[in-house]
Symmetry: C2
């Protein structure tokens, strides 16, 4: 399949997911958003699920390309820019982030029943976790951050990011609000006392349990 055809199919899948959600989505819905017939789609993808797995791979390539090298001269700046990018999906057409976030939440609810979907969600998660961990570790090394545990800190940040996405869907909490809270967490938890370590209470407690 040429890149143009892939691009058209993936854009169509995005629009169809925003329009119909995942559970009710059909290959016909996707074909109607694309330049191709349903038969042409089936030529490349046996099932809706196969197309969805390819779509997740496509999203992952797009996401890692977009988020992989955040702006900033220091680890703290790069961490801030990375979190902002992760919580600000790219604008696409006129479809809202909320509708797409809803479809992704539906897909996440499939993960316990579908190892291939879970594997792809884990790839996103590992990527975000590993980037946050690296910036935190680099910031500690550079004396910008307190001596927290980089792994636990990264795991807590990805947990808050997942919560931000869930809340946007479930109760309509604005991403801008979640972003502000996460930035405040990073500023306060990581940087306030940099250079003035607060004794064993903080870092050790995180590691000891």
């Amino acid at each position: 399949m040429s890149d143009d055809v892939t691009e058209d199919t993936m854009d169509a899948t995005y629009r169809a997911l925003c329009e119909h959600g995942y559970a009710d989505l059909t290959m016909q819905d996707i074909a109607e958003e694309s330049d191709r017939s349903k038969a042409a789609l089936h030529y490349h993808y046996d099932t809706k699920r196969a197309l969805m797995l390819a779509f997740l791979d496509y999203l992952f390539a797009e996401f890692t390309d977009r988020a992989g090298d955040p702006d900033g001269d220091t680890p703290a700046e790069r961490l801030g820019a990375f979190i902002e990018t992760v919580l600000t999906p790219p604008e696409r057409d006129d479809h809202s982030h909320e509708a797409f976030g809803t479809a992704i939440l539906e897909l996440e609810a499939q993960a316990p029943y579908d190892g291939d979907i879970r594997e792809r969600l884990e790839a996103f998660d590992d990527f975000v976790f590993e980037h946050v961990r690296q910036y935190v570790a680099a910031g500690i090394e550079a004396g910008e951050f307190r001596a927290v545990d980089p792994e636990d800190t990264a795991r807590f940040v990805v947990t808050a990011i997942d919560g931000a996405r869930t809340r946007q869907v479930a109760i309509g909490q604005e991403m801008a609000c979640s972003r502000r809270l996460l930035e405040a967490y990073v500023d306060t938890y990581l940087t306030s006392d940099a250079g003035h370590q607060r004794g064993p209470a903080s870092g050790d407690r995180v590691r000891s349990e």
Copy 2:
């Protein structure tokens, strides 16, 4: 409907949700888990959705009863006990928390399309938010916690709780791990410097944006 009948129907709904998820659930599935026929269920609940709304109300009553008065002599202890209760659902039968968490995530993905579901999810959220806010405010008042912003802190805690639930489903992160991270956050962020306020950098930054 008598309390016993309600109890049986709600328990049957719980088991059927664990077994089938929300999207594929039918009234017949619920009847098969209960002592009643599908016709008897329909006598009380017109649709699966009506039964689901009643089920969410039932869960809410059960949850607020279980979590509303956490153990502890101090605000910090009560906050810790509250978070532990929220992240530890009650044991029921032999069904796993993961399966139920998955069904709840599916329901959350319905919220953008269904104001009655969203209203109920908001009630859970308001309850958790308001309790956390109260314990944080009381802890500051008592000199146990630093002078953080209680509202922003509570909003960040509920975001992390939602993230914990999502990650259990999407990538299989253990609740015990999420609970440990949240406890470490509360210990480090709120209590480390109690009585030694760290100047304007922390609290003000949270409020200023």
